[in-house]
Every structure is written in structure tokens, then in C-alpha cells.
């Protein structure tokens, strides 16, 4: 029998951190052969809005895996993150009954009017409206068929990743008195949004299986016939996920937080992945410590990291739930020093802040958790593994996380949607990913470098403190940053997050000619005088023109460095905010201009810097070296095909 966790669900106990609007009691029994759950659920929901409610919408997420008519299948075309849906392993969630105050309302359940064949949301009309501040209990009995793992949920062989598996109520959003339900169907790009609450979940599972779950284990009893019932309790979380597998081992360590508390970090893994599990454990401990120091301390006593079996990794790996995440990246190609597994773990653990604690709407504002988390990941990885080697330190190759990701992913063409676009409204998953992850990270990095790292980190910490256990929006983040940084930043947030166009910085022209007094014909009549090269000889200095342009919509101050033939440099600054899209600089020097470097300190992460550094006279030495490499390669091939 597994050891009971002795700690309270919140570290140190204490009062509720959130409004706890949606509280669940669930009893579920797993059939590991059929991959089904038979369960009962009692939801205690409090209407925290200022308007009356006469209908309750519920997510039945598993129905997104039911058939090809679901929005998930239609929007993903059966493929998420290069992983294909199984044609034989469909999943579903069947409501067997629903009662409110003892009245059977099962027959009243119906899909929303605009469902269009999707069954992942269902509406329950109430016989009695729920007044503001009032509480209602809804009792479900349901059967869940887990799909063959796809889009982070399901089974693969004996491995069960049980997520988004129970009827889950929507969230009231909008201004007081005019609230509406937010309960969209599951889309391939969008993740989740739910109210905080408590969860008491009793899982009856095979005694042979290792279980990891959200919250703390409060009870474990033998249920007979080779089964046992494990009861978990979680507080101030907005989801509950669990994993069952007969082959998993667990290793653990302790994260020491800034508030002098500790968090037990556990990694669940199969024996063949033990070496990777150690790496995940170190990364997870480091992430819990660093995120706690950067934002708010991790509030729960346990952090569980699931390292899925290799054949389930692409489908089940890389997902976040409160106090439990799945990681990925285990591969022979991820040699020690190639920190992809560590990066995935840091990213998923980081989500316990950006969406776990700061519970933004992942469907409407995916960038607010994914992109902000990406930005924070770069800091945490740099602190854990060194600035220059945060992603890569292998065989002489080094790479900083944000720089490598930027170079590998920055789009050469603008996506047709702004960053602050709802996840389901992007033209495709590539545009969603580029905007929500990379572009957001680069935007925050650019702002951080513009205002100073210390100040920006302090402002982000203030944001975390202000909105912990609430549902922050992008607007609230912008307002808080403007307030904390003491300046109106609408000039930045508007075009960066709400407009298409980005930042397209370029050197338009650079050149020098010998300087001299004006030549030509001057004056009229008898006073007419022709000044020739003899009267106005070259002064021995150079007059250099540099024209820079920005054809994007985002305008930020740009540092420009000019380098001259004698080794001297000159720094310029171009602030094109409100001054137009181009600027001409004229410099007179004793030495000729040889290089122009826009943004030499690489502060502007939003733009592609490939052509930012330009030398006026071409130099083919590197091209020759590259040619030598290719010729050597060619000669090897020649010797294989010929003598």
C-alpha cells in the first residue's frame, strides 16, 4: 500500500487562497484492460458572479476524442504535435445520470445550439435559477472510455494518462451583472480554463499499478479483488489529473523555497528511462526553486513529474496540470548537455505558475500562459545551466535557450494574426505556436531589455503576486506592467500584441565619399563664381550616409553602431516612435565607414537579426572556408562513387 502523504494540501495549511467556486468529489474505478472509468461525481458550485444562472454548461472533454465530428478532430485533422490519432482507439465520456437536488435532469442535457456535431460541451438547464452567491450541488454518474493516447490524454499499452476525464463546469466571465459562461468546445490549439476549487478524488485501481495524481494522498485501503482505493485531496487547484502504470518507479528530491519551506518533487518513470528521470528531477527541483523565487512561492507540498513511456511520449508528454505535469524529450539524441529534456520539464513545471496559479484563459489568451512561461523559462534555464549554455553545451557547441529558439523559429513572414488572438482563431497551428510561444517570449524579452532586466523582473513578480489564484487577462498584465514600470507602455503593447506587422528593421543604405567644401557655380552676374576641385579640394575626411528603415508596425528605440576603418566606433540612437519609418544619419570622420550594426547588443528580440550587422566591403574568407568544407565532403563522395 502506498505511503500516505502527511502534509496538508496547501503547504503549511492555512486559509483558502482562491474563491473555490467549483469543488468536486469524485469516485472512479479504472478497468485497466478496457481502459474505462466508471465514476460518480458531485460538484458543489457557487455562483460567484453578480447575475443569476439558469443553465450550467459542462465540458465533456473526452468526447473530443469520440469521432471525427468533434472540433478537436476537425481542427487538428487528426494530428497534434506530429502525433496521429488512432483510428481504433476512440474515447468518450458518457453521462449515465445527472441529478440536481435529487431531481433527475438527465433527459434535459443537450449540446449547445452551435455544437455542429461536437459533443465536448453539454448544457444543463436548471429548474431553479442559482442566485448570486448561492450554491448548487450537481451529481453525475458517468462512464469514461479513455482514447488511445492522443493530445495528452489516454492509454498506451498499460500506461494510462487520465486527464480531462470528468464533467467539468465552465467559468463565469465578463463584467459584474453581465457575466456569461465561458465553456468552449476543445479545439486543437486551445487548452483549458476553469475555476479554482477543492478536489476529493477516490480512485479504485489495480494494486499492481503505480499512481500519481494531483494533490496529496490522504487515504489508501484495500478494495478487494486485486484493487485498492486511493483518496487524493487538493485545494486551490482548477483541475485534477492522474496517471496509472504498473511499471513505473518513482524517485524524489526536495526543493528548498525562498520562504524556507520545502516541496517534495517526484519523478515517475520506467526503468529504462532512469537516466533521464534523474535529469528531469534535477530540472524540476531547480524550476520549483527558481520560479518560486522569481514570482510567488509554490503553494502545494508536492510536484509530480510523469516521464511517459517512449511510445507514449509524443502524445502524452509535455502537458501541465496543477501539481502534476508530464514531460518529454527522452531520446538517445538528447545527450547530457543537450538540454531538451530539462527544458521540457522546466517549461511544464513553469506552467504551475503561468496558468496553474495565474489561471488565465488558455483558449482566449494562450500567449498569457505559454508565451509568458517561455519568457520565464529562459531565465530559469539560464540560472540553472549558465547563460551561454542554458540549452546546449555539447561537443564544443553552446547555445542559449532564447537565442537558439529565436534563431530556429522566428518566422521570415508575418503570421496573419496578432499575438493576442484566441487560440482557436489562428489560421493554423504553426501560426498559433509562433505567436503564442515564440513571438510573445521575444516581445517580453525586448521590453525587458528596453526597460532594464531588474525592473522588469520586479514588475512581473508584482503581477504574479497581484493575480495569484485569480483569472488575469492580458489587459490586466499590460496595465500592471505600465503601472509598475512607471510609464505608459501602450506604444509597445498595442502594436506588438494587437497588430500584425511586427518589427522589420533594416539598413537601407550606407556609403561614404570624400568630404570637401561645396563645388559648382555660385552667385549671379558678375558675382558668379565657379568653385572647382582646386578651390574646394577634398578635406581628407569622409562624409558617410547611413539610412535605416523600419517597415513594420512596432517601433522601438534602436541603438546603431558605426565602425570605421581606423577601428573607431560611433554610437547612434534612432527612436522612430512617431517620427516616421526611416532616418538618415550623416557622419563626417577622418576614417571611412566599414561596418554598420543595428542593435549591436541584440536587445531587440522581435526582429530577425540576420542582416542587422552589415559590412560595406564584402569579405569572402568565410565563404572560402565553407567552400573548402563542401569540397572536402564532395571529394569523399567522389571517392565512394569513383576511384
Amino acid at each position: 500500500m502506498p505511503k500516505i502523504d502527511g502534509s496538508p494540501a496547501l503547504r503549511g495549511g492555512g486559509a483558502a487562497r482562491s474563491p473555490r467556486a467549483a469543488n468536486y468529489k469524485i469516485e472512479a474505478r479504472l478497468d485497466p484492460l478496457r481502459h474505462t472509468l466508471v465514476a460518480s461525481e458531485t460538484l458543489t458550485w457557487t455562483n460567484t458572479s453578480a447575475s443569476e444562472v439558469d443553465m450550467l454548461p459542462f465540458h465533456l472533454y473526452l468526447n473530443a476524442f469520440k469521432n471525427e465530428q468533434s472540433l478537436l478532430m476537425r481542427s487538428s485533422q487528426g494530428m497534434v504535435r506530429q502525433a496521429k490519432v488512432s483510428e481504433t482507439g476512440w474515447g468518450f465520456l458518457q453521462i449515465d445520470s445527472v441529478h440536481v437536488a435529487g431531481v433527475d435532469l438527465t433527459a434535459k442535457l443537450h449540446p449547445p445550439a452551435d455544437a455542429a456535431g461536437d459533443e465536448s460541451v453539454v448544457e444543463l438547464p436548471l429548474t431553479q435559477p442559482v442566485a448570486p452567491g448561492a450554491t448548487i450541488e450537481v451529481a453525475f454518474k458517468f462512464t469514461a472510455q479513455l482514447p488511445e493516447v492522443f493530445a495528452r490524454t489516454g492509454h498506451k499499452g498499460d500506461f494510462h494518462m487520465v486527464a480531462q476525464w470528468f464533467p467539468k463546469i465552465g467559468v463565469r466571465v465578463g463584467p459584474p451583472g453581465a457575466e456569461r459562461w465561458d465553456c468552449p468546445p476543445l479545439h486543437a490549439n486551445s487548452e483549458f480554463f476553469a475555476d479554482f476549487g477543492t478536489y476529493d478524488v477516490a480512485l479504485t485501481v489495480p494494486s499492481t499499478h503505480t499512481i500519481a495524481a494531483t494533490g496529496v494522498l490522504t487515504n489508501a485501503v484495500d478494495a478487494g479483488r486485486g484493487m485498492r482505493t486511493l483518496t487524493y485531496h487538493a485545494e486551490d487547484v482548477h483541475d485534477f489529473a492522474w496517471m496509472a502504470d504498473p511499471f513505473m518507479d518513482v524517485m524524489s528530491g526536495q526543493a528548498k523555497l525562498v520562504d524556507e519551506g520545502t516541496v517534495e518533487v517526484r519523478v515517475y518513470y520506467r526503468a529504462e528511462q532512469k537516466d533521464f528521470a534523474r535529469r528531469h528531477l534535477d530540472a524540476a527541483i531547480g524550476a520549483v526553486e527558481k520560479f518560486s523565487a522569481m514570482f510567488v512561492p509554490y503553494p502545494w507540498p508536492i510536484m509530480s513529474v510523469i516521464d511517459p513511456p517512449v511510445d507514449a511520449m509524443s502524445d502524452a508528454g509535455g502537458m501541465e496540470y496543477p501539481t502534476l505535469v508530464t514531460t518529454a524529450g527522452d531520446s538517445v539524441f538528447a545527450r547530457p548537455g543537450i538540454r531538451v529534456p530539462e527544458y521540457v520539464t522546466v517549461h511544464e513545471v513553469g506552467h504551475n505558475w503561468f496558468q496553474g496559479i495565474l489561471a488565465s484563459n488558455e483558449a482566449d489568451e494562450a500567449w498569457l500562459d505559454e508565451g509568458v512561461n517561455e519568457w520565464a523559462d529562459a531565465h530559469v534555464m539560464a540560472e540553472l545551466y549558465g547563460q551561454r549554455t542554458s540549452l546546449l553545451d555539447w561537443m564544443g557547441w553552446q547555445g542559449e535557450l532564447s537565442a537558439v529558439v529565436r534563431a530556429a523559429t522566428i518566422s521570415k513572414r508575418e503570421t496573419p494574426s496578432a499575438i493576442a488572438t484566441a487560440a482557436y482563431a489562428f489560421v493554423d497551428s504553426a501560426a498559433y505556436a509562433e505567436s503564442s510561444y515564440g513571438a510573445t517570449q521575444r516581445a517580453l524579452l525586448t521590453l525587458e531589455r528596453a526597460v532594464g532586466s531588474q525592473r522588469f523582473l520586479a514588475a512581473m513578480k508584482a503581477y504574479a503576486k497581484a493575480f495569484a489564484f485569480r483569472h488575469p487577462t492580458g489587459r490586466e498584465l499590460f496595465d500592471l506592467l505600465s503601472s509598475e514600470l512607471g510609464q505608459d507602455l501602450s506604444w509597445f503593447f498595442g502594436p506588438v500584441f494587437h497588430e500584425v506587422g511586427g518589427l522589420q528593421l533594416a539598413l537601407r543604405h550606407a556609403g561614404c565619399r570624400p568630404a570637401h567644401a561645396a563645388r559648382g557655380v555660385f552667385g549671379d552676374g558678375s558675382a558668379k563664381k565657379t568653385v572647382t576641385e582646386l578651390e574646394a579640394p577634398d578635406t581628407g575626411t569622409w562624409r558617410c550616409d547611413v539610412v535605416v528603415q523600419n517597415t513594420g508596425t512596432v517601433h522601438v528605440p534602436v541603438e546603431i553602431e558605426l565602425r570605421f576603418a581606423d577601428g573607431s566606433t560611433k554610437q547612434l540612437r534612432w527612436d522612430d516612435r512617431g517620427t516616421g519609418n526611416w532616418e538618415r544619419f550623416v557622419v563626417e570622420r577622418s576614417s571611412r565607414l566599414v561596418e554598420v550594426w543595428l542593435d549591436p547588443e541584440n536587445k531587440i528580440a522581435l526582429d530577425n537579426p540576420t542582416a542587422h550587422h552589415y559590412r560595406l566591403d564584402g569579405d569572402g574568407a568565410a565563404a572560402l572556408r565553407a567552400g573548402a568544407w563542401f569540397s572536402s565532403f564532395t571529394q569523399t563522395v567522389l571517392q565512394i562513387v569513383g576511384p
Binding site: E272, Q273, D275, F276, V310, D311, M313, D330, S331, V332, L392, M395, G396, W397, Q398, G399, E400, A403, V404, R406, A407, A408, K412, E595, N608, P609, T610, A611, H613, Y614, R615, L616, G618, D619, G620, A621, A622, A623, L624, R625, A626, G627, A628, W629, F630, S631, S632, F633, T634, Q635, T636, V637, L638, Q639, V641, G642, P643
Partner: protein, 307 residues
């Protein structure tokens, strides 16, 4: 004639290299000229795209981030470079029928003196060029089979390659994917080599047909595994020299245009060594080829003379 063993075949290599060093160097010069032309063409392509961007210098000197930008920014240059390399390989393949014919001729006839050697080389290369070209066409179905075997074996173990967690697991999966095709490729390659030897040795006396020669040689190679072992030793040495150079060169980027020349010279040395191995293998194949049973002699019958 005494039956030759592996030692005899291997021993023929150094003898041939020491006796016909000039011939070997001449072929190497031709190959190096093609490689150097390739280097200049590639350098021009890259210079066109990157001569004004110091970022490319960093990329060539091993800056990963700069390299990523250049790869993404310079895709047309990379495509052009691929085209140049492909053209060089095709050109060399066409030239190799003449060059191998010349080398086989020299090794078979063992001429003395530079002049005779050069004449022998040219005459043999020219005499067998079209026969070698037809032989290459004849061997094409075999390459298709190699590709099919490789594709099938790879698809069988692709999930093991993707999901490998350790180096032994990866090597095991790759071995299953590559070995069957590699062995078949080696067999077909050896058959082509010995068929060329036959075409050279018996060109003047028997004028053997290409298809018949290929099929007879296939049968011969299957009956004499020493042919495969001998060829494999040559490839093993080839691979070892390449790997040793790659290992020694690791982490030693050379800067400046002078570095490029140094690099070219160092790599040329490696290439020369590898060519010497290939030449040595050819010499062994000629030695063994001499001991093969003679092919049927082609007899022309003039039907008109009967009447």
C-alpha cells in the same frame, strides 16, 4: 595457376602504389581539380549571399545561433551548393569510367616508363569506356533492389530508431536498417569492380558481352568470398581514415583565408590516402581477375560464305 589468397590480394596493393605512384597522383590531381572547382563555385555562391554579413563568419567558425540564422536565411545558397555538389558527382561518375578503365589497363598490362604508362592508361580508358557505361546501366536494377531493401528494413525499425534511449539501442536499430542494404550494396559493387576487370583483361582477346560478364562475375563473386572480404578491407580502411581525420579535426576551426588553404591541403592528404587504398584494392582485383576462367570467345560467323 596458383589460387590467390587474401594476403596476395592485399599485397598487390602496396606494390602497385609504389610502382605506379605517378599514375595514382595523376588521377588524384584530376579529382582534386574537380574538388577545387567545387570549392570555388560554392565559395562564390556563399560570398554572393553572405560576404557583407559578419554573421556568416561566426556561423562558419562554429556559432550555433549564427549557423541557424544562415541556414534559414540562405536556403537558396544551400540549394545552389547542393546542385554544385551533385553536378560534381555526376561529372566524376562519367569521368570515372575512363579513369578506372585506364587504371585497370595499367595494372593489367604493367607498362614501363611514363610515356608507355600514359599511353596505356589513355588507350585502356578509351577502349573500355562504353563497355563500362553499359555495365553501369546493367547494374542499375541492382541499385533499385538495394534501395528497396534499405527502405523496407528502415521502415521495420523506424520506431526503434525514433524511440532509442541509449547508443547501443540506436546502433542495433541502425544496423538492422542499414546492414542488409550495405551488404547487398557491397556485393553489387564488388561484382561491378570484377566485371570491369574482366572487361579490361579480356577486351582485346574475347570481347565479352557486358550482360554476360556481369552475370558471370556475379556467380564468380558468390563462389569466391575472398573478393568480398578484400573489398570490405578497402572500405574499412577508407572509413577509418575518414573517421580518424574527423576526430582529429574536431574542435580545431581554422580562421582566415590561409586557414581555408591549410584545410584544403590537409583534407587533400586524407583524400590521397583514401585513393591509395582504392587503387590498392583495384590492383588486388586485377591480380585475382587474371586467375578467373576465361570467358567464352565471341566468334563471328559469316553466313554468306557458306553458300
Amino acid at each position: 595457376m596458383a589460387r590467390l589468397g587474401l594476403g596476395d590480394l592485399i599485397g598487390a596493393g602496396p606494390r602497385a602504389v609504389s610502382r605506379y605512384t605517378g599514375t595514382l597522383l595523376a588521377v588524384f590531381v584530376v579529382q582534386s581539380l574537380i574538388a577545387a572547382t567545387c570549392m570555388i563555385a560554392v565559395a562564390l555562391v556563399f560570398a554572393q549571399a553572405f560576404a557583407h554579413l559578419p554573421l556568416f563568419d561566426d556561423a562558419v567558425d562554429g556559432d550555433l545561433v549564427a549557423l541557424l540564422y544562415c541556414l534559414r536565411y540562405g536556403k537558396p545558397s544551400l540549394v545552389a551548393t547542393g546542385g554544385i555538389v551533385f553536378a560534381a558527382v555526376v561529372l566524376w561518375q562519367l569521368a570515372s569510367w575512363f579513369l578506372v578503365g585506364g587504371l585497370n589497363g595499367v595494372l593489367a598490362q604493367r607498362p614501363e616508363g611514363r610515356g608507355d604508362t600514359a599511353r596505356c592508361f589513355g588507350a585502356s580508358g578509351a577502349a573500355t569506356y562504353l563497355a563500362y557505361a553499359r555495365l553501369a546501366l546493367c547494374a542499375l536494377p541492382g541499385w533499385v533492389v538495394v534501395l528497396f531493401v534499405f527502405g523496407t528494413a528502415t521502415s521495420l525499425v523506424s520506431s526503434h530508431i525514433v524511440h532509442a534511449l541509449t547508443v547501443p539501442e540506436l546502433i542495433g536499430a541502425l544496423a538492422v536498417a542499414v546492414l542488409p542494404a550495405a551488404l547487398l550494396l557491397h556485393l553489387l559493387w564488388t561484382v561491378s569492380d570484377y566485371a570491369r576487370v574482366e572487361l579490361t583483361l579480356r577486351h582485346d582477346t574475347h570481347d565479352p558481352g557486358v550482360i554476360a560478364t556481369y552475370l558471370r562475375t556475379l556467380s564468380y563473386v558468390l563462389r569466391r568470398p575472398v573478393t568480398l572480404v578484400h573489398g570490405a578491407i578497402g572500405w574499412l580502411l577508407f572509413g577509418l581514415v575518414t573517421a580518424a581525420y574527423a576526430y582529429l579535426a574536431q574542435g580545431h576551426p581554422m580562421y582566415g583565408a590561409g586557414g581555408a588553404v591549410t584545410l584544403f591541403v590537409a583534407r587533400a592528404g586524407v583524400s590521397l590516402l583514401r585513393m591509395a587504398f582504392r587503387f590498392g584494392v583495384l590492383a588486388g582485383q586485377i591480380e585475382l581477375g587474371r586467375t578467373r576462367p576465361l570467358p567464352p570467345r565471341r566468334i563471328e560467323v559469316n553466313l554468306d560464305s557458306k553458300s
